[in-house]
């Protein structure tokens, strides 16, 4: 469970988030939508521990992990993130990516874990390749595998499929749904696409100018923003 309480984040004079409060129940997928500059990515970075909030708190399973005086390092939060441009390391092969992301306590059986994930995401034939030698879909699968190999409790996704064409996006949606069914994951998914929201989200959070404008389940969202869907 993720709890955000009165979250504040400022960059100089610009307020990126203002008193944002919301909750993501366990094993649910929360879609975060809103116009550009509304604070969606900042929100993810705060949850990931990549930024420190100026006010408020973030709790993971009721433990305070972020606050103006507290910042638990990202690698101790048991979460993963898929970045918009995937942030694959150009100097590492597919298997090296996965080996790096294996958690410290499980280094002894790292090879076996990596092999399992390579097979699971159909990357076993590509394990010696570098990111530049992969297709768009393969890169996405690698980013997903890297995010999941540490068996995180939380998965943060920052418009991960926005740069894909329609066919690949559909394929990735299917992948994600399968993974979600197989793994007990709480997901925060930032997107611009209403289609993605309707396809995958359990709950929806609407941000505008750094403030929460709506929080509710998918059905409530559809009703509240009926005018958008009727267009």
């Amino acid at each position: 469970m993720i709890d955000a309480i009165d979250l504040e984040k400022r960059y100089g004079r610009t307020t990126a988030l203002h008193q944002a409060t919301f909750r993501v129940p366990p094993e649910r997928l929360l879609a975060v939508i809103g116009p550009s500059g509304s604070g969606k990515t900042t929100l993810l970075r705060l949850i990931a521990g990549l930024e420190k909030p100026d006010g408020g708190q973030i709790r993971l399973n009721s433990v305070v992990v972020s606050g103006p005086e507290t910042l638990v390092p990202s690698y101790r939060r048991n979460l993963s993130m898929i970045f918009q441009d995937l942030a694959l390391w150009p100097h590492m092969t597919v298997s090296e990516h996965l080996q790096f992301a294996v958690p410290e306590g499980r280094h002894a059986d790292a090879s076996a874990i990596v092999r399992t994930f390579l097979q699971k995401l159909h990357l076993d034939r590509l394990q010696a390749r570098y990111p530049a030698q992969l297709s768009g879909g393969e890169k996405q699968r690698l980013a997903i595998a890297r995010a999941l190999i540490s068996s995180p409790s939380y998965l943060l996704m920052d418009e991960p499929f926005s740069q894909l064409d329609f066919r690949l996006r559909k394929e990735m949606h299917a992948w994600l749904q399968t993974i979600q069914q197989e793994t007990p994951l709480t997901v925060v998914y930032v997107t611009h696409s209403l289609d993605e929201v309707m396809l995958m989200a359990d709950d929806v959070l609407v941000l505008d100018k750094g403030a929460v404008k709506f929080e509710g389940n998918r059905t409530a969202f559809q009703l509240a923003f009926k005018h958008y869907f009727d267009r």
Binding site: A48, Y75, L79, M81, W89, H91, Y130, A132, S150
Partner: protein, 550 residues
């Protein structure tokens, strides 16, 4: 290994070249530049080489000296010093860059401003300072002698270790500068992706450092080459190396043939290393600067061991900046010495300022034109890039000898006897440095901007004046500044080609040093350092107001 991420980093990209675009420049420009380069660099070197092979017929007699064990030992000294300085600079420079860019210490901003100040102090001034500090009659050694009268553990600065120490102080900021430039161009998300599962230390070892390898390599290479061609610091530290021997052969024994023969392995070695590293960089492009690049956050706060690392950095910067300034000030007191220095050296200071300013302007214009051709000419790009590396590998003394052989003739006395010869020497000696800076800047200008302007105005000169030069302002400022600092502090070239009746400040210091006028030397060194610091401050102010692209 096709990593497939386009390299576009200010420093590293300058070590590689790409061929692109249609030709938009006037046809006379390329031959003009090549002829000019030939006159300034290739002809003097060619003449030296030919002279070394011709003595009453074709002969290799002067090259027999290369087999002499004495020279082999000197070569070993040179390699040992270059290796030591490069290794120490890599460790110190890379650690400094990492701390400044990725660890959030309280003093980070302050250190981020002062870390490159030791680079502005010419190496021979560092050497003079440390001979004052740790020479045989220095306070440190006298204290040691008083404390341990029976077994005197002297600190011997006149040694290979001393040379390595001094040149590391002078050159380590080059590595820091290169690696910081790499950190700034590194997409922060690559490190953040690692931070989600690993500690900052693991991220640094497995992600940051491998991605920054070209920058580290580039910094190490520059330091290595500068060290191996440096003759003044080993000379002051009474350590015989190849570069000093070349100078001695020419200035003491008037044996230009032997000096040439000795310089060839040095040139071959450094040029070979430059070409190899350049090839490696072309094959391994690494990190991108993209429009939506995210500036990386600090990986960790400065606590625990990081705080100790910050303390060590502060200590090192103290040794590199505070000690030189403090020692020079203490040594040059009483204040009357400054009055004497300013009264007796005004001509030299003004001459150095004007000459360095003019040379910096010429360097800036020449390197800008050269890099433009390097970037925009389809066929000649690679050739021009390699050609521009050549003077980088040639010691200043060797270039000086070549210039003497070429221009010391009755019909060229109008040039050889004037300050123009110094300007040519500076141009030949320092153009590789300004070329590296300008090349990086020109690479960052999309050819499409130029093509759009070319379609609109059809005049190449208008395009250059209104589009290219305004976009190149940061590079122009930086290359002018670098040119000025290098020319103002250079000792090697003017030592050989100084016209009669003239003296630059470094030459004056060198002469005073040999007369044992330590107080005057210290005062003059301090004046030089202050002039360079003031010039740096003024140029930065001007750059901040007019140089930045808004």
């Amino acid at each position: 290994m096709p990593w497939g991420v386009t390299s576009f980093d200010p420093i590293v990209s300058a070590m590689s070249c790409s061929v692109n675009s249609m030709r938009t420049y006037p046809p006379f420009l390329l031959p003009f530049c090549i002829v000019l380069f030939a006159i300034v660099v290739l002809l003097p070197l060619g003449l030296m080489l030919a002279g070394s092979l011709w003595f009453q017929g074709l002969t290799l007699s002067s090259y027999a000296a290369l087999a002499n064990p004495r020279y082999l030992k000197m070569a070993l000294n040179s390699v040992l010093i270059a290796g030591g300085v490069t290794l120490a600079s890599l460790v110190i420079g890379t650690s400094q860059a990492f701390l400044l860019e990725r660890i959030d210490g309280r003093w980070r901003r302050f250190f981020g401003v002062v870390y490159f100040l030791p680079l502005l102090i010419p190496p021979y001034i560092h050497a003079i300072v440390w001979t004052f500090c740790l020479g045989s009659t220095s306070a440190v050694n006298r204290c040691l002698a008083a404390l341990f009268p029976d077994c005197v553990p002297r600190v011997n600065i006149y040694s290979i270790g001393g040379v390595i120490y001094i040149l590391t102080i002078a050159y380590a900021p080059i590595v820091t500068l290169c690696v910081i430039s790499g950190f700034k161009s590194l997409d922060g998300r690559l490190e953040e992706a690692g931070l989600l599962t690993s500690t900052p230390w693991a991220v640094m070892r497995k992600i940051s450092l491998p991605l920054l390898r070209p920058h580290i390599l580039c910094g190490g290479l520059i330091v290595g080459v500068l060290t191996i061609v440096n003759f003044e610091v080993p000379d002051l530290m009474r350590t015989r190396v190849y570069a000093t021997e070349i100078f001695i052969q020419f200035s003491a024994f008037y044996d230009a043939r032997k000096a040439t023969a000795l310089s060839l392995p040095l040139i071959g070695l450094t040029f070979g290393a430059l070409v190899i590293v350049q090839q490696m960089m072309q094959k391994k492009p690494y990190v991108v600067i993209t429009g939506d690049r995210r500036v990386a956050r600090r990986l960790a706060p400065a606590s625990g061991p990081w705080r100790l690392a910050y303390f060590l950095m502060g200590f090192w910067l103290g040794l590199s900046i505070l000690v030189p300034l403090g020692v020079l000030l203490a040594k040059s007191l009483p204040w009357q010495n400054f009055r004497t220095v300013l009264r007796t050296s005004t001509d030299e200071i003004l001459f150095s300022l004007i000459l360095s300013g003019l040379s910096a302007l010429v360097l800036m214009a020449a390197s800008c034109t050269w890099c433009y051709l390097m970037e925009r000419s389809r066929r000649w790009s690679r050739f021009l890039d390699l050609l521009a590396l050549l003077p980088f590998a040639v010691p200043g003394t060797v270039l000086g000898i070549g210039l003497i052989l070429l221009w010391n003739r009755s019909w060229t006395q109008w040039l050889y006897g004037s300050s123009l010869i110094l300007l040519i020497a500076y141009l030949a000696h320092f153009i590789p440095f300004t070329i590296r800076i300008m090349a990086a800047n020109i690479k960052q200008i999309d050819i499409k901007l130029e093509e759009a302007a070319y379609l609109a105005s059809s005049s190449w000169f208008t395009t250059v004046r209104k589009i290219l030069l305004p976009l190149l302002r940061p590079g122009l400022f930086l290359s002018f500044f670098l040119g000025f600092v290098l020319c103002f502090g250079d000792l090697a070239a003017p030592l050989l080609v100084m016209p009669p009746g003239r003296e630059t400040v470094p030459i004056k210091i060198y002469n005073l040093l040999h007369y044992g006028a330590d107080q005057m030397v210290a005062a003059l060194c301090l004046v030089i350092v202050l002039i360079i610091f003031i010039a740096a401050g003024m140029l930065y102010t001007v750059y901040d107001r007019y140089g930045k692209i808004k």
